[in-house]
């Protein structure tokens, strides 16, 4: 195996998913010389076959993740591998954190505060939704914090959502069209959605915002370069440890590349952001790069969820629509302490399209059935199935963390990532309460059978916290590490709290804010 010295670049981005590609596109457009490294293979629009079976190739295919605790199992399903990362198979649910999500320590004495408030991020949320293309109806959404109108009207209310809405209406609960980064009409040269329900197999027509149709065409036309099968193993620093000098990576043949850069941005998804910092320990950073606080890997979070299922009297056409939600309710979202011993917000996300097979399909919704009973059930489900995700919050606690695990290694002998996540009791109680609410909503609709899934995790957050205090966080509010000025982190690993909403809208707003900061401080950062 060889060692190859590469030519220096101004900005080196690690990861080609939503965060990395958005950062690359914006910095390249601002005139930076940007190179992005993607650990996985090249993905093409033609790879997005309409099949839950073939779609599995888009999911995580990298080194092992060791998971411990009672709220784990999101890694293999939630992460991506190849161009676009997880954003090639995401569901495009698009939300803003609420004001109180940013101030949980101050308001409730739980978790952490963000170093910024909603109003700081609001203009970037507005920009992000225009950049990505979001369909929704703000006038019907009573829960959204102050925001600009969505650039497109909401997707139509589908048969499944109409069936579920009866339950909300019967209980006097409000519901609204769910905002999604999916075109309800042609938007910026991308077509409108056909509602065919294959979102997580990828969207080759480009109605669902994904990096192959949005960020990468922008980035490449602005002069950025994207290399695949480039697996970063270490961020290097000057002997002082105060300046990153670049990255070492391995190619598909195992050759070692030394890639110098003036600015390094790690955007490899939550688990891998922490792992890479820990792998990059050196004499100046003995416990991991930018880890003088000891916080790298700490405060990992997920969203605890249950799925409510029902067989409705009316036809629901469950195979049509989008895999994200079609109907949303955030009633009492801002009441994070609805009962004693209970903590956290929750969202109801209903009317998600599904197919017969795969993890979220009709068959696995009833894992107890097999043989003729399974066949009979599927023939009813194909016409009458409905579902709703009950998504709750996990409080940020330091014990939940990402570490290196030397008992398992990658292809180059480097330690695997180990994730420990145990749901705090008050969050588990919140989920139980929300599950009961969800079952009642479905029971109040015209259903013949209602049941719920076991508790599962969704999304991965935290590990490289942003904060004001360098002794208690890894980066400032721009994702710039406290200890290495030209080293930035992008993605949901920055989040100090989880909220009870999907993270991509917020992480995209943060990326735009970081990109602005880098652009404004260009001269100092490139010195």
């Amino acid at each position: 195996m060889q060692t190859i010295q590469e030519n220096p670049v101004e900005v080196l981005v690690l990861g080609s998913g939503f965060a990395g590609s958005t950062m690359t596109a914006h910095l390249a457009a601002a005139g930076f010389d940007v190179l992005t490294l993607e650990a996985g293979p090249e993905r093409k629009l033609q790879d997005m076959l309409s099949s839950q079976i073939w779609a599995r190739r888009l999911k995580w295919g990298g080194p092992p993740v060791v998971e411990k605790g009672d709220l784990t199992g999101a890694a293999g399903f939630g992460m991506g591998w190849g161009t676009g990362g997880a954003a090639l198979h995401w569901y495009a649910n698009w939300y803003r954190f609420h004001q109180n999500d940013f101030r949980e320590r101050t308001l409730y004495g739980k978790g952490l505060d963000w170093p910024i408030e909603y109003e700081d991020l609001r203009p970037y949320y507005d920009r992000a939704q225009n950049y990505v293309g979001v369909s929704g109806d703000l006038a019907q959404d009573p829960w959204s914090p102050p925001a600009a109108d969505y650039p497109m009207p909401a997707l139509p209310e589908l048969a499944q959502s109409r069936a579920i809405k009866k339950g909300f209406d019967a209980l006097g609960l409000r519901s609204a069209p769910n905002p999604v980064a999916i075109n309800s009409q042609r938007y910026q040269d991308r077509t409108g959605c056909l509602l065919d329900g294959w979102c997580d197999a990828g969207c080759p027509i480009g109605a669902l915002a994904n990096p192959l149709v949005l960020q990468w065409p922008n980035a490449l036309s602005a002069g950025a370069e994207l290399k695949h099968n480039a697996y970063a193993t270490r961020v290097t620093t000057a002997p002082s440890g105060k300046k990153a000098t670049g990255v070492e990576y391995r190619d598909a043949a195992g050759d070692l590349h030394i890639q110098p850069a003036q600015i390094v941005i790690i955007a490899c998804h939550t688990i891998w952001n922490s792992r890479l910092l820990l792998l990059s320990a050196n004499g100046a950073h003995p416990d991991g790069l930018a880890n003088g606080s000891g916080k790298v890997g700490r405060h990992f979070m997920s969203h605890p969820i249950v799925t409510i299922y029902g067989l409705f009297d009316q036809e629901t056409e469950p195979y049509r629509g989008i895999l994200g939600a079609n109907i949303l309710s955030q009633e009492n979202y801002d009441d994070k302490q609805p009962a004693k011993g209970v903590f956290g917000s929750r969202s109801f996300q209903g009317g998600q399209a599904s197919k017969p097979n795969d993890l979220l399909g009709w068959a696995l919704a009833r894992p107890d059935l097999y043989g003729q009973a399974l066949d009979d059930y599927l023939r009813t489900a194909r016409r009458h199935f409905g579902n709703m995700t009950v998504l709750c919050e996990e409080t940020s606690v330091p014990e939940n963390r990402i570490e290196l695990d030397t008992t398992k290694t990658d292809a180059f002998g480097l330690p695997a990532a180990k994730v420990t996540n145990n749901i705090p009791k008050e969050n588990a109680a919140r989920l139980d309460l929300a599950k009961t609410e969800g079952l009642k909503i479905f029971q109040a609709a015209d259903t013949s059978d209602v049941w719920a899934s076991p508790r599962n995790p969704e999304h991965m957050l935290g590990g490289t916290l942003m904060g004001s205090d360098p002794n208690r966080s890894v980066t400032n509010s721009y994702g710039q590490t406290h200890e290495v000025d030209n080293l930035f982190i992008a993605g949901a690993s920055l989040f100090p709290t989880s909220g009870a909403v999907n993270p991509t809208g917020t992480l995209t707003a943060l990326v735009l804010r970081s990109a602005d900061y880098i652009q404004k401080n260009r001269a100092a950062l490139l010195r």
Binding site: G40, P41, K44, L45, Q46, D47, M48, L49, S50, S51, Q52, I53, W54, R56, R57, K59, W60, G61, G62, P64, G73, G76, W81, S135, P153, A154, L155, S184, G192, C193, L194, D196, G197, W198, A201, C203, P204, I205, G206, L212, V213, P217, Y319, R320, K355, P356, N357, D358, A363, L364, P367, D368, Y370, G371, L374, D375, L378, R379, R382, K408
Partner: protein, 185 residues
């Protein structure tokens, strides 16, 4: 929202393909990437394949004929990142030991209960072993967790029976494809 006609949809798909070409891909690459189902076993022995097929046929009627053993064998033999098995979501590779030990567990349970291998049992007795795994009530088989093995193998069976273009058709579910796969798996 503007609903697109199927004609418009086909135009859109053509445009998507054009974008793909701009990004450096080719239809030929797609066909190669999809491959085609192999008929030669590479991980399972014939006996293991027959046992797994019979097991899965109880879980989803038609799984044996639909090629569930070949499906699993192919993707146990191929490199992990290209795997089409649902188990990749839920455990780290390699997956072959999980399947091979599980198939041995089926026979272990069968011999304990009926003094015969699983393939030699009448259907009712085979059903009783599936039921034991589904309800975590096995008496001899412990590794891998029989209930988890049931879950994963049931998913494999569902994939080949209900998760293909043909399977959708048999369930009378519109396929609504953007890009139809050339092969079921």
């Amino acid at each position: 929202m503007m609903r697109l006609s199927r004609r418009k949809f086909l135009d859109t798909t053509a445009r998507a393909a054009a974008i793909g070409t701009a990004l450096g891909c080719s239809p030929a690459g797609m066909a190669m990437a999809q491959g085609s189902p192999d008929t030669k076993l590479r991980i399972f022995s014939n006996a293991q394949a027959k046992t797994y097929a019979a097991w899965c046929n109880i879980l989803a009627i038609g799984a044996a004929e639909a090629g569930v053993a070949l499906f699993v064998d192919k993707y146990l033999a191929d490199a992990y990142p290209a795997s089409l098995l649902l188990t990749r979501y839920l455990q780290n590779p390699p997956f072959a030991p999980f399947y091979l030990t599980g198939i041995a567990g089926i026979d272990q349970e069968s011999r304990k209960r009926f003094s015969k291998p699983f393939l030699d049992l009448v259907e009712a007795d085979q059903n009783s072993i599936v039921h034991a795994a589904a309800t975590s009530a096995t008496v001899a088989w412990t590794d891998p967790n029989p209930n988890f093995f049931y879950f994963i193998s049931r998913s494999d069976a569902v994939d080949v029976v209900y998760g293909t273009v043909e399977g959708f058709g048999n369930l009378d579910v519109p396929y609504l494809e953007h890009i139809r796969p050339d092969h079921p798996w």
